[in-house]
């Protein structure tokens, strides 16, 4: 009886020390990390992290971010079939800098020599001056970090998305690329069992670099008739850059229109290719009008809007509409 209560006291005691120890450590790590001497930190450092390792290495701790990145186009910027084709089996030197960047720092990067299959990976975007740069002022025991406000600014993305960045800038919209393409969620930066609980929750940006979904509210379509003309307008209402937008890729919207007579026969048709490379993409917040002269008696038009991303040869249908006169 007494023996078990002694054990009980011991457990409580150790527990209390443990909890307060954890609380102190938590406080130290999150709020007063500048108190921790450099020599102590040295013990926790993993020198491998600073040797420009593949992304897999970062996943030992940043598992969620790693998996999101794996799903992104950035992780396959070098192995993408369509890129390999367009760059003549990656022999065109002009095509390397942004697809296998050494280091992203606000201007067109230089191409790197090693680990090319990693494409645009963690080290390209975060490793500068022997530190992991990012949006936060924090303590990461395994590696040095440095807060750099550029990480939440569009010009960071503009290092490579140069044309899109210029388009965005001209709109004067405040939302940054990251706001829309890396939406933030309250979560932990690391998932290494045990250790992650030492760090408080923070906003984590979605490293899938979201893409590929143009919604009804984004591009508004208005068809109509006018004497012997069929008119249709498209307006990019929400996206503060051209739609589609590209640097060297060739994404497109296709607008197909079929005209029918009273007998229900298709008597004419028209097509528009809406593509940044052809300088026909939809500017922000401006209505683009397409006008077609009708030669026969038309009573019906069928309109279809399709999207083909830069990295695919397949189109997906965004909208179909039948318009009666």
């Amino acid at each position: 009886m007494r023996r078990s209560s002694q054990i009980f006291d011991l457990i409580i005691g150790v527990g209390l020390i443990g909890v307060s120890g954890f609380a102190m450590l938590y406080f130290l790590v999150n709020e007063r990390f500048e108190w921790i001497p450099e020599q102590v930190l040295e013990l926790a450092r993993d020198p491998e992290i600073l040797k420009r390792p593949p992304a897999k290495k970062c996943s030992e701790c940043h598992k969620i971010i790693y998996e999101a990145w794996k799903d992104s186009r950035h992780s396959i910027s070098w192995t993408s079939e369509t890129f390999i084709e367009a760059s003549e089996n990656r022999s065109k030197e002009k095509c390397l800098p942004c697809h296998i960047p050494q280091s992203v720092q606000g201007e067109k990067p230089s191409p790197r020599m090693d680990l090319r299959d990693e494409g645009i990976y963690c080290v390209s975007c975060h490793f500068i001056d022997n530190k992991m740069q990012g949006p936060y002022d924090l303590l990461a025991p395994p590696h040095p970090t440095f807060r750099n406000p550029d990480y939440v600014r569009s010009n960071f993305c503009g290092s490579c998305h140069q044309k899109t960045f210029k388009e965005w800038k001209a709109t004067n919209v405040e939302d940054t690329c990251q706001d829309c393409h890396m939406p933030r969620k309250k979560s932990r930066l690391t998932q290494k069992a045990g250790f992650n609980l030492l760090h408080k929750k923070r906003w984590v940006g979605d490293h899938r670099f979201l893409h590929g979904e143009i919604k009804e509210k984004d591009v508004v379509m208005e068809p109509g008739w006018e004497e012997n003309f069929f008119i249709i307008s498209l307006k990019n209402q929400t996206i503060p850059h051209f739609v589609p937008t590209a640097d060297n890729g060739d994404p497109r919207l296709y607008l197909y229109i079929k005209f029918f007579n009273e007998a229900g026969e298709e008597v004419d048709n028209a097509k528009e290719i809406i593509a940044p490379q052809q300088e026909t993409a939809l500017p922000y917040n401006k209505k683009m009008r397409y006008r077609y002269r009708l030669f026969d008696k038309i009573i019906k038009a069928e309109v279809q809007l399709k999207y083909q991303p830069a990295w695919s040869k397949e189109k997906s249908t965004l909208r179909t509409e039948t318009v009666f006169r």
Partner: protein, 280 residues
């Protein structure tokens, strides 16, 4: 200043001063296969060019240091030149005969006497070996390794939406171009107007090809830019008017043919001709 001048003189010597190729010998042959090892994609870096820069640096380095009377470095550059020259001579077996090891050794020995006149005289024999190879091979190497190939580019025909080879696409562009001019010549304005639509969409599709070789958008000001837009607008205006004006029509056709098709051909087709022969 004098550094640059000496380098320029040395370079001019190698590239222009000696032209050991006669007109009848000017043959553009495909470079040997083994050279591919030193260019992307087989090599990450253009190693052949780097090797050239090494030799040329040591070559120039000898004269710069002779002038500055820095004889210690003259000797270093002389030794390194021999070393790099020998190394280069082993890189492409098919080109072995271009090299003359005796000539480089003789030049290095002359340089080591630290007599600038002697070195200048002995450099001639070595320079000739550089110059001969450049004159005979540089065009080929540029066509093969510096000019991307139009034959590996596919174009999506905007009418059929099928991917076609670039030269076949050029074929359909010129057919639709003729569709416009022939119909106009026959006074069939309605048909010419329809053909113009097809032709224009095919022409504008070319704008999507530039970014496969060019990493800047600026180039699109040429051939497919404002001038082409203006010509198309002019053509369309004539064809849609009650009584088209032939003079204006043909003027715009001429402009498009010249500032569009012809100028683009002059820049891009020379290499394409060479590559085509090699690829056959």
């Amino acid at each position: 200043m004098s550094f640059l001048r000496i380098l320029l003189i040395a370079a001019a010597f190698i590239f222009i001063g000696i032209l050991p190729v006669h007109a009848k010998d000017m043959i553009v042959k495909e470079p040997p296969k083994s050279l591919s090892k030193y260019y992307p994609p087989e090599s990450k870096q253009p190693k052949w060019i780097q090797q050239m820069h090494k030799m040329s640096t040591h070559f120039g380095g000898i004269f710069v240091n002779l002038k500055e009377k820095d004889y210690e470095n003259v000797d270093v550059h002389a030794d390194r030149l021999v070393e790099e020259y020998k190394k280069t001579s082993e890189m492409v077996p098919e080109w072995e005969d271009y090299f003359d090891i005796k000539a480089v050794e003789a030049f290095a020995a002359a340089a080591k006497t630290h007599d600038i006149a002697k070195a200048g005289k002995e450099s001639g024999g070595l320079g000739k070996t550089c110059g001969k190879c450049h004159a005979e091979q540089e065009i080929s190497v540029w066509a093969k390794f510096h000019w991307p190939s139009f034959h590996k580019i596919k174009v999506t025909d905007p009418i059929s939406e099928k991917e076609v080879e670039f030269d076949d696409y050029m074929g359909s562009i010129s057919t639709s171009f003729k569709g416009v001019t022939v119909n106009f010549g026959e006074g069939q304005y309605g048909r010419a107007a329809k053909a113009l639509k097809v032709f224009k969409s095919r022409y504008m599709e070319l704008k999507s090809t530039c970014s496969k070789c060019h990493a800047t958008q600026d180039v699109k000001r040429f051939y497919v830019g404002q001038d082409a837009d203006t010509s198309f607008a002019g053509l369309s205006q004539e064809l849609n008017s009650e009584k088209p004006n032939p003079e204006k029509f043909w003027k715009n056709i001429g402009l498009l043919g010249k500032t569009g098709c012809k100028h683009c051909h002059l820049v891009h087709r020379t290499n394409s001709f060479i590559q085509k022969v090699w690829e056959q």
